[in-house]
C-alpha cells in the first residue's frame, strides 16, 4: 500500500514540455463555443463547473486511445497524449480525456479521481496492481499566481492540505488518481477563464 507521503512525492510537475505550435492551437480551441455548464466531479456536488468530454469514460482495461485519435482533434489532445506516452506516461492506457474550466466564483470540489483499490495498488501487502494516474494541463497562454485557480492536494481523509500547485501557462501536473485534490476557482482579480485538459490513464503492473 502506498503511504500518502509517497503519493505526494508522486505528484509530478512539468513546465515547458508542450510544443509551442500545440500550445497555440489549444489556446485557440478552448476559446471556442464548446463548453457546457453541467460538469461535476461527483454526483453529490451541489454546483457544477464548465466541462466537455473528449472521450467517454472507459470501463475495465479498455483503451480510449482509438476514440481519442478519432475525436481528439477537436481539442488537439491526440498529439499531447502521444507526447505523454512517449515520456512520463510510458506504458499507460488512456481511460478518458476531457476538458474542465473555471472562472471566478466557479471551483471544483475535493475528490479523488479513482478510488478503486485495484487501480491504485492499495489492496494491501504492498501489491502494486495498477498505476492509475490523472494528468492535467493548464491550457492558458497567460496566468498570474495572483489569479488563483490553484490545484490543492489533500491527505487521504481530506482533513488537511499536503500540497498546492499554482497554474502556469501549459504547466502539466501528473498525480496518482487516488490522491484527493480540488481545483480552486480563479480569484476576483482574474480576467481569464481557466481551462484544463485532463487525461485519466492506467498502467497495468500486475494482473
Amino acid at each position: 500500500m502506498k503511504a500518502m507521503g509517497n503519493l505526494m512525492d508522486d505528484v509530478q510537475i512539468y513546465d515547458d514540455i508542450i510544443p509551442k505550435d500545440i500550445q497555440a492551437r489549444l489556446t485557440a480551441t478552448v476559446k471556442k463555443e464548446l463548453w457546457t455548464y453541467s460538469w461535476t466531479t461527483h454526483p453529490d456536488d451541489m454546483y457544477p463547473v464548465w466541462g466537455r468530454s473528449v472521450t467517454n469514460p472507459i470501463r475495465g482495461n479498455q483503451n480510449a486511445e482509438e476514440r481519442l485519435l478519432k475525436d481528439g482533434h477537436q481539442i488537439d489532445s491526440a498529439e499531447i497524449w502521444k507526447q505523454f506516452t512517449d515520456t512520463f506516461l510510458k506504458g499507460h492506457s488512456l481511460m478518458r480525456a476531457f476538458t474542465i474550466g473555471f472562472h471566478h466564483g466557479c471551483e471544483g470540489y475535493a475528490h479523488g479521481d479513482n478510488t478503486d483499490p485495484e487501480d491504485n495498488g492499495v489492496m494491501g501487502n504492498g501489491l502494486n496492481l495498477a498505476n492509475y494516474r490523472s494528468t492535467i494541463i493548464f491550457a492558458v497562454d497567460e496566468w498570474k499566481a495572483e489569479w488563483g485557480g490553484e490545484m490543492i492536494f489533500y491527505n487521504r481523509d481530506q482533513s488537511d492540505i499536503i500540497m498546492a500547485v499554482t497554474p502556469k501557462p501549459f504547466r502539466v501536473i501528473s498525480f496518482p488518481g487516488l490522491l484527493p485534490h480540488k481545483p480552486n476557482g480563479p480569484t476576483r482579480e482574474a480576467p481569464e477563464f481557466l481551462p484544463l485538459l485532463s487525461f485519466r490513464s492506467k498502467q497495468i503492473l500486475r494482473m
Binding site: Y109, G148, R188, E189
Partner: protein, 216 residues
Amino acid sequence: MSNVIELLKSRIEIHDGLIPAELQTAVAALMRQPRWAYGWKSNSEKDKYSFWHRHFAGGDLNSRVNCLEQLRTNPEHASVFQVWDLLSKTILKGHEPLRAYGNGHTFGCEGYIHVDNRDTDNYFSTIIYTNPDWKAPWGGETLFYTLDEKDIIKAAAALPFRIVSFPGHIPHKANAPARDCPHFRSALVFKSHIGAKHTPAVAPALAPGVVMPTEA
C-alpha cells in the same frame, strides 16, 4: 528545489493543538462579535478589492513599538492577550508584539499575494485560524510563494485554531472560502519582532521587485 526555497519552507511553522479549548471558545466568541469593517487591503496601492478587518492593538505597518501594554490592559480583548501570552511563552519566546488584528473572508472575497514587511531578519507574522468548525476542502487556505511570487512553496489549511508562524517577508495570500463553505473565515493575526535581548534569525534577502504593502 533550491536551497533558498527549502530554507523558506522550513521557516513557515505550523502548530496544531497549542490553544486550550476554553481559550478557543473565548476567541471564537470575540470573532463573532459585530465589530468587523469591510475595506481592508494588504496593499492599499496595489489591491483592487478589499476584505474584512478588525483592529485589536498596535500601530501601522511600519510600527516597531511594543504593544504589549495595550494588549494586556484592554479587557474587551482579554482573550487576544491570553493568546499572545501563550505564544510568547512557547513558539514566540523572546518576541515583542507589534500589532494584533483580525482578518475575515467569505466566499468570493480573498486576499492578494503580499509580504508583511521588508525586514528579512526580524519581523514575524503569526496567524491563528479562529473558526471552531472548518474543513480543509472549504478553502480559505493560506498559500506561501517564492520570493518572486511566481510559484507556491507551501499551503496551510485554515483548520480550527491552527497556528501558522512565518517571517513577514515571505509572500503569502489568504484564499477565499469555497462556495459550499457556510462560514465566515476569520483569523487572529499577530505581528512581532524579537526583542533587543535576543539574537535575530538570519533569512534570505527579499527578491528584487517584490512589492511591499503600504498597509497590512
